[in-house]
Amino acid sequence: MTTTAAAAPNPLRQGLVEDRLPEPCTVVIFGASGDLTKRKLVPALYSLAAERLLPPSFAIVGYARKPVTDDAFRAEMREWCNTSARHRPVDETLWNSFSKGLYFQTGDYEDPAAYKALKERLDQIDKERGIPGNRVFYISTPPATFPLAVQHLNESGLINKSTSGPFTRVIIEKPFGTDLASAKALNAHCLKHLREDQIYRIDHYLGKETVQNLMVFRFANSLFEPLWNNRYVEQVQITGAEALGIEGRGGYFDHAGILRDMVQNHLFQVLSLTAMEPPVSMSGNDLRDEKVKVLKALRPIPDGRFDEYVIRGQYRSGSISGRKIPNYHEETGVTAGSTTETYVALKIQIDNWRWAGVPFYLRSGKAMAKKVTEVALVFKDAPHRLFGEKSISEPNVLAIRIQPDEGISVRFGSKVPGNTLDIHPVNMEFRYGTSFGAEPPEAYERLQLDCMLGDQSLYTRADEVEASWKWISRIHDEWRQSFAKGIPTYEAGTWGPDESDALLRRSGHTWRRP
């Protein structure tokens, strides 16, 4: 249980197995008529209620421009919980109790009077439900409204910047900036209105069970960490592949590109957790200190040699699982002649003691052969080939599957049964589903709960965001300058352009087939 700084601890709360129960609070969702609210945020909160992880006094207030009544909001959210919550269909009794705490407030993001009305409504809900003014504001609106929303929240008295009294926390959805300059500006703006420990920059990848298990796997077992370095690891491959095109998101995606949409945030988080040193503790700052060190150790790409380290591509028409995918240029919202990348592959060197000389290959793409996110550590060959030609031709691989089918597999060589000494690679697998027989919680469940509890470990810190943008923005600068070069294409439903294979071939490596 977290308590506000000045409050005495509640002795009955301490030690409860359910002690990860937040204090009574209200979650206010900005952008409540959007897809994220319906598909993820409210269903995740309902699942938390089903697991008894929400405080008895709790409320959700949806905030958006659209005029909607409380009852209509409740009815709509019930439908979405029925189809999207992990605990579905909804339980009648639980829903009756949960939905009593669901409200909707119509208002503009630009209008100060609307924030005043929101404050009055929240004060009234606090009184009705016995909530002591603790609030989480989840800003899930278009990025352009983030600064204004934060400013108005503060100016209308909705933010308690003091470390005592009721808590105010603000969750800001990605993208947090579009380059280093805009990320710095947004950080500075937020810090004018909030303390850093009130800002929760969300990257939903960090809420995924397997991403968290990366830390458990590395630091709770003595078996793997001794091998986790340049003495044994030949290369690391991180893949974040989507089996869909941009599916109507052309307006957004054509401005962003896959490097901003996936790599700067999600894949760099996975990279940091894979490469970091053991943190002193699992507290928010200790963990994030180690992640930042990794980002600071990324070797800058030498000027004029970007082609040796970065490959981009754009999908052309093709087919994925029997479904035709149009050429990227034919997608709705894409500018004619766009050179926006739908695929990117990077070769990254980490200049520190542990990883010197080990390339980290990252790739991410739309319209790829299948949807998969994984980290694979490819190990060096055994120092001596005792079995001569029959030695393993495939290297040992430790693969951590983040989605789908979350789990971990180890590939090693085994003797083929028989009277000869043939060796064949085999896989030893751990799958969440089969070992625990349960579906892991949704990322948004864990992340919203952590925010209510005041735990920032799985949220991104300002310096972390800026360190990743610092590395990534140089690539965007280079692409802007080399606009005339054009962009390689790849057939939808494949693993990317040929140039991407060549990137690894130069070091004697090949991409894994995930």
């Binding site: 249980m1 308590t3 506000t4 409050a7 005495a8 601890p9 509640n10 002795p11 009955l12 709360r13 301490q14 030690g15 409860l16 197995v17 359910e18 129960l21 204090e23 009574p24 209620a49 008894r52 405080p55 008895p56 006094s57 579905r88 009794t93 639980l94 109790s97 949960f98 009593k100 009184k127 009705e128 439900r129 016995g130 002591p132 003014g133 603790n134 009721p166 789908p404 089918d405 799958r431 969440y432 589903g433 089969t434 070992s435 625990f436 027989g437 349960a438 579906e439």
Partner: protein, 362 residues
């Protein structure tokens, strides 16, 4: 079957096997099953279930079949029948499968039933348990039905057991907790998991929430009376609740206030005392724990209370805050078994609360 998009498949149902060949029979079962399907044997616990009679066995089996979907386990159903005659030991194996979350593979768990007859047959059980434990996964012994109060009956089965699971709601109201506490002390490091304690987890959480901000914990230092209304079935749960209060709020040793009544006086810091009443007269509730209401009164006249409103709802009242209804579900038995095998089953508050609750038996 409860999960969306899953289905049940029974690979083998209660196949009678030779006791010494159980592992071999199971291996053959898996080899056969893997010929036409991708089958994964899953096991994160050895769950040994002691079933004192056939009625308990039937109920426990249904609970285990449901629970192992969520905590894949090798279940070993024991039917000790010391007064029965016939073959000393008989065993059956079965396997229950479901489509694994995410689809594709069949996720299967094994269930072995062992019936032992006569004293000699019962004496075989400890070695059978040892032989059938899957290595490198923990073992829980669920004593289905009334918890063990005879140390000699349970001691022989505890070797290699990490967690002893029982339900104190089935104990006799007078002296039951004391006897159980003796059993719990038989093995160093043995974790005691009381389903009755787990059942009241949501209730404790709601009680604790009455003293979260804005109220805060100050009134807890000023309590003069605690009243718990319960059905007779809920007396042990009520005592454990008092044990929890006593341990968290550092109350002194209880003294009975009136002979024959469930009323005590417990010293508090300074020279005061808090009066405890467990009332069972004409109490009815739909809650499995039997607890209908809890109220805490302070010397300043404040009253903090919660009471059963049916449908897993509790009405909470606190000074200065409008009465509100909150959800406080008591899990079903299969859900309690699942919880008992997770982190909730290793509750560090429980041994202390039990120790303090035992004082109420004196």
């Amino acid at each position: 079957m409860s999960g969306a998009g899953t289905q049940d498949i029974q690979l083998a149902k209660d196949t009678s096997v030779n006791i010494g060949a159980i592992e071999k029979e199971l291996a053959a079962l898996w080899r056969g099953a893997s010929k036409d399907k991708q089958v994964t044997r899953a096991c994160s616990w050895n769950l040994v279930v002691h079933c004192g009679d056939d009625d308990i066995f039937d109920k426990a089996k249904a609970v285990v079949d449901e629970a192992v979907r969520h905590v894949p386990s090798r279940s070993l159903m024991l039917k000790p029948r010391p007064y029965a005659t016939g073959k000393e030991v008989e065993a059956w194996v079965s396997a229950n499968c479901q489509i694994a979350p995410g689809g594709g593979k069949l996720l299967c768990t094994e269930e072995i039933t062992v019936e032992s007859r006569g004293k000699d047959g019962v004496d075989h059980l400890p070695s059978i348990i040892r032989a059938l434990q899957v290595p490198d996964v923990p073992t829980a012994l669920w004593w289905a039905g009334s918890p063990p109060t005879d140390p000699s009956a349970v001691r022989i089965l505890l070797s290699g057991v990490d967690r002893l699971v029982f339900d104190t709601s089935m104990l006799p109201s007078d002296g039951g907790l004391t006897k159980l506490a003796h059993v719990g002390g038989l093995l160093d490091g043995l974790v005691l998991t009381d389903l009755n304690w787990l059942r009241t987890g949501s209730l404790r959480s709601v009680i604790a929430s009455l003293f979260d901000p804005p109220t805060g914990p100050a009134p807890l230092g000023n309590l003069k009376r605690v009243r718990i209304e319960t059905t007779p079935k809920g007396i042990q749960a009520a005592k454990l609740l008092v044990g929890w209060f006593a341990s968290r709020l550092a109350w002194g040793t209880p003294e009975r206030t009136e002979g024959g009544q469930l009323a005590w006086r417990m010293p508090v810091r300074g020279d005061g005392a808090v009066r405890i009443d467990i009332e069972t007269n004409k109490v009815a509730t739909s809650r499995d724990s039997g607890i209908k209401s809890v109220s805490l009164e302070t010397s300043a006249g404040e009253r903090f209370a919660l009471s059963d409103q049916g449908s897993s709802q509790l009405e909470c009242t606190s000074p200065g805050i409008a009465a509100r209804t909150v959800q406080a579900v008591e899990p079903r038995l299969d859900q309690l078994i699942v919880a008992s095998l997770g982190s909730r089953g290793r509750d560090r508050l429980y041994p202390v609360a039990l120790h303090r609750a035992v004082e109420l038996d004196r």
